[in-house]
Amino acid sequence: MKRLIPYILYLYLIAMYRILLADALAIGPVQIYLTPLIVMLVALNKDYIISLWFGIAAGLIFDCIDPSHMGVQMIILSAMGIVTSRVKERFNLESQKSLVLLLATGLLIFTIPHTLIYTTSGFSEFGRIFIRVVIPGIIYSTSIGWLYFMIKTSRISFHKIKELF
């Protein structure tokens, strides 16, 4: 049970982001894709089974606001989790560039079905939304992921920032 606490906190972070922070952190219509980002970051740090179940749980959190699509995000996010986990096992992802590229690719794959499912204005609007909202959103989210890797590898730290001033 104790092992589950960090994952439950991640799930609460997703819920908190969606309710309280999404609009505050948005740049115009561009939002951070925090849920897939967290799923991928968990998959990069944990094993296959944890990635799978965390994807399912995150999908449940994502879907429950709109129960008419219940299950869709569970499938998409758990698939993202296990694919990321497999890619991590098969490829050498030591460099930050490769990790950032993996995040960007994962987010791109996530956003295509997500945008198609949740865009109510139809397929004709897809291209416009994809260029104006989704691509900037992927860049924004990947930047957050990159920041996370920088902090994790201590390339950015409180002391270094303090020294700057």
Partner: protein, 262 residues
């Protein structure tokens, strides 16, 4: 059993994947009832605290804005009150200088209308203040525009008000500019008019008519209306002046009783 558990251990990843996707597919294909129930439970566990926090923050933010607005209004009204107090003091000094007896002071008590009667236009209303609220017969009733009427009958908790549209309610009035005096009356057939105003007096259309304070019922200076039409028939001593009241008797909402503090 051993071979089964060892097989499960070997194929653990596969088993987990199958169970997880099966669960997702069940939820995807299940009806709205199941999806709704699962969604509700998840919402309650994960989103409810943040939703509550968000609504509290939103209420706090709107209240904070209201407080800011009220503070601004308070500052504005404080300045107005100071100016008003200065005017009152100046008025007292001038009255003392002229040898006038200062009028009795009164307080304004807000009241609610609980009943209206009248044909065509309301002329009598019932308000929720009575003798227990220090309301007495003949006290003045106003609204934000001007004079509305007077208290005609008082019960413990209710009072009957004769509006100016009630023929029995007459007011001693004067024209604000020329100080010409007369009596405000109301007739169903011709509306409100200023009676007993001699033709020698200078009155013009658009002049404001106020209470003169001479009748001993209404305090001086309360706006009644404006002169709408003046007829000066030959062989008549008085003008025939039609008054347009400032108070809309059909749209009365907030009323105040001037309760005299004796």
């Amino acid at each position: 059993m051993d071979w089964q558990s060892s097989w499960l251990k070997e194929k653990q990843t596969l088993v987990h994947t199958i169970i997880a996707f099966l669960l997702a597919f069940i939820l995807l294909l299940a009806g709205n009832n199941v999806a709704g129930f699962v969604g509700n439970v998840t919402n309650t566990v994960f989103y409810y605290p943040f939703n509550q926090l968000k609504s509290s923050l939103s209420i706090f933010s709107s209240k904070s804005k209201t407080i800011d607005d009220l503070n601004t209004k308070l500052a504005e009204l404080t300045v107005h009150l100071q100016l008003y107090n200065e005017i009152v003091e100046e008025n007292k000094r001038l009255r003392a200088l002229l040898g006038f007896i200062p009028p009795e002071s009164f307080r304004i008590v807000p009241t609610e209308i609980i009943g209206v009667s009248g044909t065509g236009i309301p002329n009598t209303i019932l308000i929720n203040l009575g003798a227990s609220d220090s309301v007495r017969v003949n006290q003045t009733v106003i609204n934000q525009s001007g004079l509305a009427g007077r208290i005609a009958q008082v019960m413990d908790d209710y009072s009957v008000v004769y509006l100016l549209s009630e023929p029995r309610c007459r007011v001693s009035a004067r024209v604000s500019n020329s100080r010409e005096q007369g009596i405000i009356r109301y007739k169903m057939s011709r509306g409100m008019y200023l009676d007993n105003c001699p033709q020698q007096g200078e009155v013009t259309v658009g002049d404001t008519v106020i209470t003169s304070g001479l009748g001993g019922i209404f305090p001086e200076g309360i706006v009644i209306g404006t002169i709408e039409k003046i007829d000066s028939p030959e062989k008549e001593f008085f003008h025939d002046i039609t008054i347009k009241p400032v108070v809309n008797f059909n749209g009365l909402d907030e009323l105040y009783v001037l309760v005299w503090e004796r």
